[in-house]
Subunit: 307 residues, 2 copies
């Protein structure tokens, strides 16, 4: 009902990071594209197979040292329904290798529709008595702009099926402040959203003290990270923005508690495109990803010690 499974994986690997599987086609090594694209009449299908192969290589290379992956839905939807098949198969493959899967979908809607998203990405669906698992992720990113109606259907699935959500609070992009930094009375919009996360998670706290309702807080705003860490003691953070977006290990340190827990830092491009930097051959993309995952883990360990 909370993030205890994720926290256990983080402790086991001594690594509070997650690899974002955002397979833009330009990231996929050319030899994989060439192997699959010509095999299918519909290029979307060939591309989806290339992406799945690429992902599997990365998962194989990192599954023993990284606790989680975060596939970003947009980079699968871009290959149409074939991409969603690759998305589903990537999730299953990673879980079979013992990894925790955070679906980055930033889904949001009201009541019954949000129930459908919750079932789709985290839960199960009852089809005239047959229980099926559509995508079966372990956690899902969501957008709380619609308020409690949009979040409560997820809480039920979190509780019953031991899953988690991460609500967008302070995002890592340059224009995140246009709305999020605006003040409501004396509090910023992101503080109001953060407060709502603490409320939503109240009944869903685990042994660690963290609830099943996490928050997305960008590495590119280190001051806000520390501020929110203090104000949201029961909320686990997903921290994007490390690496390619400009955040460093020192910037993310404030996201962690005194036990070195309470946050997981994402890197996508930095790891899955690591082969494009240095002397790697294309077919060493997985080794390059592993090397960069280790570098990132050790980089963060300079500032964060997991107890």
């Amino acid at each position: 009902m909370s993030f205890e499974r994720l926290i256990a994986k983080i402790k086991e690997t001594k690594n509070p990071t997650v690899v974002g599987l955002d397979p833009s086609f330009s990231y996929v090594p050319q030899y994989l594209r060439d192997a699959f694209l010509p095999e299918f009449p519909d290029p979307l299908e060939g591309a989806a197979y290339a992406v799945l192969e690429y992902n599997k290589g990365i998962i194989d290379a990192i599954c023993d040292i990284v606790p989680a992956i975060k596939p970003q839905a947009a980079y699968y939807e871009i290959y149409g329904w074939y991409g969603m098949k690759a998305f589903a198969e990537t999730i299953t493959y990673a879980q079979e290798k013992g990894m925790y899967v955070i679906i980055d979908g930033k889904r949001n809607d009201i009541g019954s529709t949000m129930e459908a998203y919750a079932a789709a990405h985290l839960g199960t669906v009852d089809l005239d008595g047959q229980i099926a698992t559509p995508f079966g992720g372990d956690a899902l990113t969501v957008n709380g702009y619609l308020g409690t109606d949009g979040i409560s259907p997820l809480l039920k699935v979190c509780k019953e099926q031991d899953k988690g959500i991460f609500v967008l609070v302070k995002t890592s992009n340059p224009s995140s402040g246009e709305l999020q930094d605006k003040k409501i009375n004396k509090r910023t919009v992101y503080e109001v959203m953060g407060k709502m996360c603490e409320t939503w998670g109240k009944e869903l706290r685990g042994e660690s003290g963290y609830s099943a309702v996490g928050a997305v807080v960008g590495a590119t705003y280190p001051e806000q990270l520390s501020e929110l860490r203090a104000k949201m003691p029961h909320t686990f953070f997903l921290v994007p923005g490390y690496g390619a977006q400009g955040g460093g290990a020192k910037d993310v340190a404030g996201a962690f508690d005194e036990n070195g827990l309470g946050a997981i830092v994402n890197s996508s491009r930095g790891i899955i495109c690591a082969y494009k930097k240095g002397d790697w051959a294309e077919n060493q993309y997985a080794e390059a990803a592993r090397a960069e995952a280790i570098r990132m883990r050790d980089d963060i360990a300079q500032f964060v010690t997991i107890k």
Copy 2:
């Protein structure tokens, strides 16, 4: 580059409404479920076929009198990737029948990821020289919580491929006010978001005066609808909340301009489940949907005259 194609369809049908295709499994007539579920080892696949058949029946029944459909992504994702195949096929089928397709995905993310969503739902993708169309909708609902970075990639696709977006401004659900009604200086969060829509759409206005950047404003808040109509003269409205959610024809009247344009009102359950009310047999679900679509059109026509 704006909503001119949608406006033309509304004028042609004299009907400013859109049918939400939200095929929750409990909405699908039992005879269709029984026809498909047992045929497939994976119930998700059988369910997806039943949903597609259901949708086609509704589209056939309404395509000459209703300008647009709005498939809600959650109700396809719940059937896994099979559901996304039905989603893609529903979109294509409706467009072949001359309908305008608003994908209700409420997507949101930053820069490059939002580019991927834009390509996935509205645009095309270049796969080593082969141009493919992943889902090919005409418009997409989006969430603007992340600010301009999350919207600008869409504007490019709107401009180049004559598509539109609807940004969540004031949603129809009971708790929408938790964040959206809060005041930033003297303006509510939804007014700030509305203002941003006007800004984002500035360079994308069509002959009608409306831009490619529309807004979602719920029928359940009629005062805010009229207020926003006055403050957002270049922003076309998508109005959910009519019917099942409690909004009536009088409530939506304020969304329209003096020419009876400027808005399209959605009904989902009210139309696609019309067969569950009254004396319809299950296999008359499409006729029932048509009858209800006509009733809704005429209901709104009491208050709104398209010039």
